[in-house]
């Protein structure tokens, strides 16, 4: 197969589920500029790694639970007081994202909503429509509905420098997971329960293992995140994300 080898960095800013054991909440930085979910710990972990929040181009929010979206007020504060940048930040999420963002900002920082204190960098909210492909920044994105306690929760597919990514966000067992991860190079998948457990809104080790087997023939590299506890034993073909660890993923760009 011809083509140029493309490598993309993937930094785990946090790997924990909502009930954390001390690790940061699930968030992953792709290519130094694409953030997958925005928990309250995301901005502090960017700073901890000396990464400017202004470096972000796109933030994907899978759903509006606190451990996925309540980092918004901290990011907005960065953009209001510290970060100047010419190009907008795109925040992609479910319907209601813009309204929730404004409510959170008013609750979090009363008095900072005045016009002269609004973000120096424009923030564009993109509320997704299921299965409709759209463009944000330089990415082509598709949002797939996931199964998460009846909420509007989405998984995302996008291609970054030739590497095809899928990110599930939180989801219970549903056939859309297979649709989302079909023919991707990298799948970042929630694994709330690294043990067998029945939970309609999250994956357990049994469903995760089935997913691993399904994507193995297509050569997909699978990362597990959003884990209630780090798994006790490894699983062939899976990488369990560790807070602060940098991974490199790659594909051959098709020409």
């Amino acid at each position: 197969m011809g083509g140029t080898l493309s490598r993309v960095p993937l930094l785990c800013l946090g790997s924990a589920a909502a009930l954390s054991d001390g690790r940061s909440w699930n968030s992953t930085l792709v290519d130094g500029r694409i953030l997958l979910d925005l928990p309250p710990t995301a901005v502090i972990n960017l700073r901890r790694h000396d990464i400017l929040p202004a470096a972000l181009d796109v933030v994907f929010i899978s759903h509006l639970h606190a451990d996925h979206a309540f980092g918004l007020p901290f990011l907005q504060l960065e953009y209001t007081l510290r970060c100047a940048r010419e190009t907008p930040l795109y925040v992609v999420g479910p319907p209601g994202l813009r309204e929730q963002s404004e409510v959170l900002f008013r609750l979090a920082w009363p008095g900072l909503g005045r016009a002269e204190l609004m973000p120096k960098r424009r923030v564009e909210y993109v509320e997704v429509e299921p299965r409709r492909e759209f463009r944000v920044a330089d990415l082509t994105v598709a949002a797939t509905p996931m199964s998460h306690f009846g909420l509007q929760a989405f998984g995302y597919r996008f291609t970054c420098r030739g590497v095809r990514f899928a990110y599930t966000g939180d989801t219970g067992d549903c056939c859309e997971i297979d649709e989302l991860t079909r023919d991707v190079d990298v799948a970042i998948v929630e694994l709330t329960h690294p043990v067998p457990k029945s939970d309609p809104g999250h994956l357990d080790i049994a469903r995760f293992t089935r997913l691993l087997e399904a994507v193995r023939p297509q050569g997909t590299r699978v990362f597990a995140t959003h884990m209630s506890v780090p798994p006790a034993v490894g699983l062939e073909g899976a990488t369990f994300c560790e807070d602060g660890k940098l991974y490199w993923v790659e594909t051959r760009q098709r020409v």
Partner: protein
């Protein structure tokens, strides 16, 4: 320090001397300026690190096992080994004075090196110089 002054400073360092101002400007968009007080450990031996550090102002000591290995001043860099291989830091770097560094992430640095291989050559020259100095010190010791 504003970007124009940083670019001016970078152009005076051996590793960025031949890099265009436009490329340095692009790099600065994702770089962070970090100022710390004397005595602060900037990088820690054994820890994973993502940053490449270039000293804009001030000085730092490179330490290992309580022994001073080198002193770095304005225009010097450190953290380059982790940028290359992603492995944990090989030594502590401690601010000797108040120090301001430009911190560039591993991926931004790699991207810049890909488009400007002369930076890699300059880094190699400096690495060889350090290796020879260490070798000489060991022979004398």
């Amino acid at each position: 320090m504003d970007n124009a002054k940083i670019i001016e400073a970078l152009k005076k360092t051996p590793i960025f001397a031949k890099t265009t101002e436009e490329s340095l400007g692009t790099l600065l968009k994702v770089a962070i300026q970090k100022t710390v007080q004397a005595g602060t450990k900037i990088v820690e031996k054994g820890q994973s690190g993502l940053g490449f550090y270039l000293i804009l102002d001030g000085a730092a000591d490179v330490m290992s096992g309580g022994k001073k290995l080198a002193e770095l001043g304005k225009g010097s860099f450190f953290g380059e080994l982790s940028v290359i291989d992603g492995a944990p830091r090989t030594a502590d770097v401690v601010a000797k004075t108040e120090i301001t560094c430009l911190v560039i992430s591993q991926w931004a640095m790699r991207g810049t090196i890909t488009t400007h291989p002369e930076i890699a050559l300059s880094m190699l020259e400096e690495l060889v110089r350090r290796l020879r100095a260490m070798d000489e010190a060991r022979t004398k010791g």
